[in-house]
Amino acid sequence: MSVGIGRESSNQKKDMSEKQRNASAYWRENVRYLFILLAIWFTVSYGAGVLFKDALDQIKVGGFKLGFWFAQQGSIYVFVLLIFIYVRLMNKLDKKYGYNE
């Protein structure tokens, strides 16, 4: 693991700050993805499955009341999708910033 940033010699300093800028840009984009994905995570489970369950139950899809379906089926499907979307986004981001391996 490379924790030896402080031990770099001085002629590498400029190179270092470049590296740090790259790292913090990567981190900002990562955190932005997290906010968006977690907002969806919250909406399908706590929103559709709990808080707005009664309203959504007025809509029926096949034999399912929609709110009930979100609470016992739909939210779980969305969770799985979210992680795979995250994996794709992050793999792309890793490539963009040169962290792919």
Binding site: M1, V3, I5, G62, A71, Q72, Y77, F79, V87, E101
Partner: protein
Amino acid sequence: MTVQTWTYILVGITFALYIGIAIWSRAGSTKEFYVAGGGVSPLANGMATAADWMSAASFISMAGIISFAGYDGSVYLMGWTGGYVLLALLLAPYLRKFGKFTVPDFIGDRYYSNTARMVAVFCALLVSFTYVAGQMRGVGLVFSRFLEVDINTGVVIGMVIVLFYAVLGGMKGITYTQVAQYCVLIFAFMVPAIFISIQMTGNPIPQLGMGSTVNDGSGVYLLDKLDGLSTALGFNEYTNGSKSTIDVFAITMALMVGTAGLPHVIVRFFTVKRVKDARKSAGLALLLIAILYTAAPAVAVFARTNMINTVSNQEYADMPDWFTKWEKTKLIKFDDKNGDGKIQYVADEAINELTVDRDIMVLANPEIADLPAWVIALVAAGGLAAALSTAAGLLLVISASVSHDLIKKVIKPGISEKGELWAARGAATVAVIIAGYFGINPPGFVAAVVALAFGLAAASFFPAIVLGIFYKKMNKEGAITGMVVGISLMIFYMLKFKFGVFDGGKEAVAELTKDWWFGISPEGFGTIAMVVNFVVSIIVLQFTPSTPKKVQEIVEDIRIPSGAGAAVDH
């Protein structure tokens, strides 16, 4: 062939398989023992995580609980799957990059403090021990019902098997046995589910069958029929719950966050090669878990409808074979209060004549639906796979906490690799014996405490780890105070409202319901304790020395996925 012969054959084959794998993949170094050498493929790790995660509670109890709770059961479905989103997005990749062996390792190094490490070891042991005792009990239950051995003999057999492959193989042995156990348990859960779905709705996919019409030509949707049956007998409508919205919210949150904070789940992500593998295997794990978790609510609906149809207002003398068999285990009780020889199964306690233990729904389901003997035996093998795989994962956390976090890092830092490996094996052995003891002599409250283990994990680990990654400045004073306050508050609330310790014991618990803070049950209180942990950590940070520069640099480094290397002990 009888069910019992089939059970002996299937359980025998699966056990031989687990032992064979353990011998083939035994661990030779501490790295292999703790993290399987760090070279497990994402798919194998995903399967192992899924088996590790799905315990006797998921396999045996969950569908039964939902069957009786209806919509209220959603807290388990969402709570025990949604946590993986948090795990994949907020924890797994960074902990993998950090590259250590255990969760206390991360807490101890990130917060540059052995006190923090000790607090984390305490939390890990508390969570894992309460959890593992429940698994041993599950093993005993399956043995006693299907092989008709004494429940204690069942626990001992389970102990010997787990001891054999956990002690010999460490994480490496456990990982590959868990892969096999996942296959066994998912097959065992899905086969009866598919059979019953076809029987009741004509749709072979249980997840869809649940929303289909009943297979009797009436054109009525199954869920509507069940709602009707439930209300006619005085129960809540199945698709509507009886819990308050805020409590449903809090319990779901506590279970999600607790899932993400459970050490035996987190540690699985130390076993893969790269950071991107950690992300991917979290996704695969949830996909594999979701197969069971989306089928379970369907099984719950089928079982509930089947059961009401079979027993309600029927002659007791006409009850099928399975009814009397389960009556013998005292998990079904019939008391003919009005003496008419018929079974009145209703919500009103005064005239209800039938009590059914919710734990038997999955185990009895194939019999209720009159499925072939081999399917019933398969369920027994699946229940055992689920209980054993989780027990093994937990035992590893316990043994690593003792041999690595306690002995190697604090008590005797100069210990040799070989010595540490023996210490790990010794700790695993002692842990199995303690777990077995609690399996044989369950301290009445095991089941309750297992549910609360999530609250404890949510109140302690989750905030400390998330802040450690996402808040560079978080210091040891803040994190330690947060963990101590969070877990103490959780323990206090448990003792007060779950066990009635301060108000005259268990009898007082029902009375205390109206005093719940914000109307939140002990099961959901982990959410509040977690928030308190976060707030306390951030307040204490303002008044204490800031984090050393060097530690902040480590945090910057774990945020970058490349260069993870193997999990090393540096």
